[in-house]
Symmetry: C2
Subunit: 190 residues, 2 copies
């Protein structure tokens, strides 16, 4: 099996999950899009689609957290970082014809009542993002309990704005929510 096949399968699957969801993405579709032999799925993911799904969810979670950290590292303060995160998400949506939003959101809703290992994977990812946001806001001087609450509101507003933006094919909700969250973070600073 060529080196890189596993990564290619995971990259392809992550992209298909965003567009078609977990149920709507088939293994045949994945190997075709990844230009990989069908057997390579079971070679790399012996338990099949659920194992592939779980690894993709967890890896997408890490990559999106890295993006979050990179934007906060590159911004002069947490207020502009918050604004930049929402504006960057809006720009990505426009560039991808409103397909690439949160990498795990569609799957999270699909599996919440139907697949316990995958639900747990999405919950772990959201927890890791909440921890990352709480740390950033705490470092900026906001008390930790308040930093956690603000991060939960930030993440809720972001995930919900993604739904509205993908449905409407506009970026209004991300822009409005981003402005609100940046103002909210500014008001919470000491």
């Amino acid at each position: 099996m060529a080196a890189g096949t596993k990564d290619r399968i995971m990259d392809t699957t992550a992209q298909l999950f965003q567009r078609y969801g977990y149920t709507g993405t088939g293994l045949k579709q994945i190997v075709a899009a990844a230009n990989a032999p069908f057997g390579s799925i079971y070679h790399h993911f012996p338990n099949g689609k659920v194992q592939l799904g779980e690894e993709v969810i967890r890896r997408s979670g890490e990559m999106y957290r890295d993006l979050f950290e990179a934007i906060y590292d590159a911004s002069p303060d947490v207020v502009s970082a918050t604004s930049n995160f929402f504006l960057g998400a809006a720009e990505t949506l426009r560039q991808t014809d409103y397909a690439d939003a949160c990498p795990i959101e569609t799957v999270a809703l699909e599996v919440a009542s139907t697949n316990e290992p995958l639900r747990k994977a999405t919950a772990d990812v959201f927890d890791s993002w909440i921890a990352a946001g709480t740390e950033r806001l705490s470092e900026a001087g906001i008390p930790e309990a308040e930093a956690r609450r603000l991060t939960i509101v930030f993440l809720s507003a972001l995930e919900g704005a993604f739904v509205l933006c993908r449905a409407s094919k506009t970026t209004e909700a991300l822009e409005v929510a981003g402005t609100h969250m940046a103002e909210t973070v500014r008001a919470a600073l000491p």
Copy 2:
């Protein structure tokens, strides 16, 4: 065909969409759960699943807007109404083992990049909710443009909190987002 079959099919479909999504809900599953003959689907929905899906999305949108209006009618002011809406949603989630959240959210994400008539139906529903919220906040004295922005933040926070709550099987995000939104509405009142 017995009177009421169409309603029963639509009620059942709405519930299955919340648990399994659009792609994960099959027509055979719908007629079995609705105790309806298979032919009744095509009798009432000649264009099949897409037509049924669109009618269910639009009717769910009206029912959820009616719930929103009822909660605002029953609350003494828009601040407590906002809080009550989030707390009611949290209670419903707990009572349904974290299955019944927004009636169209999972479907909205699934169809956004794959089915234009259904995407449009979800966009129309979100627009109607934004109009209803904007009207309530305007009536409370908030200037209309600001009322619209607040409603978009409200709806974003609600939809995103549903994702976090269903994934984590806790109601923390709805409670935190509800408190934040009630405070935000209070601060915007004249």
